[in-house]
Amino acid sequence: MGNNSTHPTAIVRIQRFNPETDAKPHMQEFEVELKPGTTVLDALHEIKTHQDGSLTFRRSCRHAICGSCAMHVNGKNELVCNAPLKERLDRHGRITIRPLPYLPILKDLVVDRSSFWEQYLRVKPWLTPPEDAPEKEFRMSPEEVAALNNAETCIMCGACYSSCQIVGLTKEYIGPHALLKAFLRVMDPRDSIPGERLADLDGTDGVYRCRTIFNCIDACPKNLNPTLAIETLRKLAQKREAFEQARIERQKHLDEPIPAR
């Protein structure tokens, strides 16, 4: 790749911070070539590999499926790997990249997601199937599957979590990602402990801690809607017994074909 090409350049402003050596975060500017098809991640890579190897960030899949690369770009959380650099530049050809907000910074753009994972664990993200499994698969209707779509593709990137001001205020809040996961499990006809789950979510750290700020929807790179999941869980929590009963009924027929309509 020739260096004397005619491509214009982009100015990339990056927040740097190494807690071992720096007193506080500072901004640093880099210049990279703006080639067609360059993503923000490409720009970071170019800087890391050819200008300053100490620039630190997470990435892996580079096509928005692994959830490593969520960052705070121009004031918004997003995945940088599928963000076209050109579209993120302001009038002066500049882009500003910071780590995800409200989380401790480990180094440069790498944040400590411990609280994120702790909350994920707290909702028991795994399915708890009924005691006796059928010989083959449980039967689920395509509609039942579609109802889970809003949660199924969550890649646990943390963009929603770190955009939520309630998370900024208190790490005791379960958070949009984990509530979305809880929603996935509660809505799954194969899960046999929806009542227990709803009871767990019913506390002050759960569904009622959400203040309907909506940042989580705006931030989600997978176009998921945690707010809607939270509102749904709030309603289900209020008719927990009925919901549990309906689940027990449904599970009696889990190994029977879905009737044709």
Binding site: I166, T170, Y208
Partner: protein, 108 residues
């Protein structure tokens, strides 16, 4: 949790009561004095409405204050203390407010 429901139910109630209150009491925006107020307040129906209003507004306000405070992680350990304080303040304020409402008597 109950606090959330309290907040939402009282909010809906407030939509009604607060609207009435604002229109009737704070408008028209002329000088208000005791005599004007006393005429309306003489009516027991108004007294009843105001007491219910007071109840909801206190519920909403204290629940709201509790929520604002406990959203801050540092205060989370004081959750119960705050709830207790809110109840006590609520009761005192409700007693005081009700007494006030009843105290509005037309001059003899």
């Amino acid at each position: 949790m109950r606090v959330f429901q309290m907040q939402r139910i009282s909010a809906i109630a407030l939509v009604v009561f607060l609207t009435i209150h604002m229109i009737v009491v704070h408008y028209p925006p002329f000088h208000i004095d005791f005599d004007q107020i006393i005429i309306r307040m003489a009516d027991p129906l108004w007294k009843a409405i105001d007491i219910v209003f007071l109840f909801f507004v206190l519920m909403h306000a204290l629940a709201g204050a509790w929520v604002v405070l406990t959203d801050v992680q540092r205060f989370s350990r004081l959750k119960r203390a705050f709830a207790g304080a809110a109840i006590v303040i609520g009761l005192i304020a409700f007693y005081y407010g009700t007494k006030t409402i009843i105290a509005f008597q037309p001059p003899v």
